[in-house]
Symmetry: C2
Subunit: 110 residues, 2 copies
DNA sequence: CAGATTCGTAAGTCATTTCTTACCGTAAGT
DNA sequence: ACTTACGGTAAGAAATGACTTACGAATCTG
């Protein structure tokens, strides 16, 4: 549920692909596994990581478990990135300003 | 520069810590390495990953290379997460609605 | 110019992660 | 009740990733 676990979860290409499938529509595990060249248990393990990160959630529907996207983990991640974004922009602005000064100082001698 | 590489880069705790230090102020590699219990080459390797992802950038200053945050990779990541966020919210809303219907259908029999 | 600083890259080792097979519990159908 | 479908967990093998030491290139200093 922290932004760290969300980052770790989304770092894996297979897990990102699972998320992409779930963007289309909620899916049971078996249907999800059918779309990938890896075993169903592997998918289950990925779903566990995504679930622990609050990126997906499941509800039982008879014998099957339907997974769908969850906003929880994504919200935490977005909040973190927003603050980081502010600092990155500030660093960029500061760098541009410094560069302009350097240019102004050097230009007379070129 | 893609959101995928940004996610991979930020998945590592040490790289996140490096980013956190750079939030404070731009730093040369040696100064950065001094703050961590790992070797300087290891820091260099992390900086390469962060740089490839467009999360940091460097400029030479004499013999040293000053690293600072860069908005590029972060922007790509934020854009991706925003679209994903929309889909997650939609999925959540749809689930809540379905649940409400189920409740309405079941309540008379309780 | 010689020595010292700063940093990137290469090669190899070690740890972590991902994947597979095997197995178990639960739910649905006959 | 028996069988089939569905999916989570365990244990070990295989692939990835992070770290170390060794080395080389570029810059600064005396």
């Amino acid at each position: 549920m922290t932004y760290e676990s969300a980052l770790t979860a989304l770092a894996d290409p297979t897990r990102r692909a699972i998320v992409e499938v779930l963007r289309g529509a909620p899916q049971p595990v078996g249907s999800l596994a059918g779309r990938f060249p890896i075993s169903r248990p592997a998918i289950s393990q990925h779903l566990r990581v995504l679930s622990d990160a609050g990126l997906v959630e499941a509800h039982a529907e008879g014998a099957r478990r339907i997974y769908r996207l969850s906003p929880d983990g994504l919200g935490a991640l977005r909040r973190y990135l927003d603050t980081l974004w502010d600092d990155a922009l500030a660093a960029y602005a500061r760098a541009a300003e410094t560069h302009a000064k350097e240019q102004a100082r050097r230009t007379p001698f070129d």
